[in-house]
């Protein structure tokens, strides 16, 4: 019986599944990541994962600050304005009343967030997450 190097087979399979997805059978209801970006200081801690099907998930991994209305531009443009937007507001220091955390005017390339509290409308840091069909 020939000697089989299972270590090399395993390495080869790992490389294939990490790097070469052209032969993935999409009819089997499997989707595959074709491009991604990890959050770093250089990219403003934004991230995304684009799938072969056109689906994209993207978000920010650091609290966004700013007063009043903050414009968010998506790293990956969406097909249109119909996509899922989730926003969470940070309240680490507690206290406050009249919280407001909303988005408005979504477009294919972004949206505006109002994240503030209190009668003085003090701004609050927030994070965002988006998923849906990408433009390209």
């Amino acid at each position: 019986m020939p000697d089989i190097d299972f270590g090399r087979i395993s390495e080869s399979l790992n490389e294939k599944s990490d790097r070469d997805l052209r032969n993935v059978d999409t009819t089997a209801k499997a989707d595959a990541v074709i491009d991604f970006q990890l959050p770093t200081a250089d990219n403003g801690y934004t991230w995304y994962r684009k799938y072969k099907s056109g689906w994209v998930e993207q978000g920010v991994a650091q609290r966004v600050t700013g007063g009043g209305a903050v414009s968010v531009v998506l790293p990956v443009p969406m097909a249109d304005a119909n996509y899922t937007i989730l926003i969470s507001q940070n309240n680490s220091d507690g206290g406050g009343v009249y919280f407001q955390c909303q988005y408005h005017t979504p477009t294919a390339t972004g949206f505006t967030v109002i994240s503030q509290y209190g009668s003085s409308r003090t701004s609050r840091p927030f994070m965002w997450y988006v998923c849906g069909l990408s433009a390209n």
Binding site: N43, S71, V73, L74, P75, S120, R121, N136
Partner: protein, 124 residues
């Protein structure tokens, strides 16, 4: 790559263009089928008189009403002194002025006219 207001991208824009916009008060608009343009975020519209009135009312409730409550409680308990009264009046005046300054009414002439009319009625 350098980014700037008015820059146009064909087909798609690089993710770093979005980062630049997020850090420079700009946004990207799809200007036609397959082109994107970096634009400056326009300044926020000034708050309306109604919004400022509501903001003032909220501030009075959260910042001045507790002073009234303290006075009422101490008066009932017979602990309210002349010094307390002087301090209370001074504090209410100070906070009222500060709140009015924090939430100014629009300077649109129509509002100035309304304000003048209100003052005129108060003086009658």
């Amino acid at each position: 790559m350098e980014y700037y207001i008015g820059q146009i991208f064909e087909g798609k824009y690089p993710p770093m263009a979005a980062v630049w916009c997020n850090q420079n008060n700009a946004y990207i608009e799809k200007i036609d089928g397959n082109r994107y343009e970096i634009k400056a975020v326009p300044p926020a519209p000034a708050p309306t008189k109604e919004e400022q009135e509501q903001a003032r009312a909220n501030a009075y409730a959260s910042e001045i009403d507790p002073l009234h409550a303290r006075k009422a409680r101490k008066t009932i308990l017979g602990e309210w002194t002349e010094e307390d009264e002087a301090e209370y009046v001074a504090k209410v005046k100070e906070l009222s002025a500060e709140i009015a300054e924090r939430y100014p009414y629009p300077t649109d002439p129509i509002f100035e006219e309304e304000s003048a009319q209100e003052q005129s009625k108060e003086g009658e």
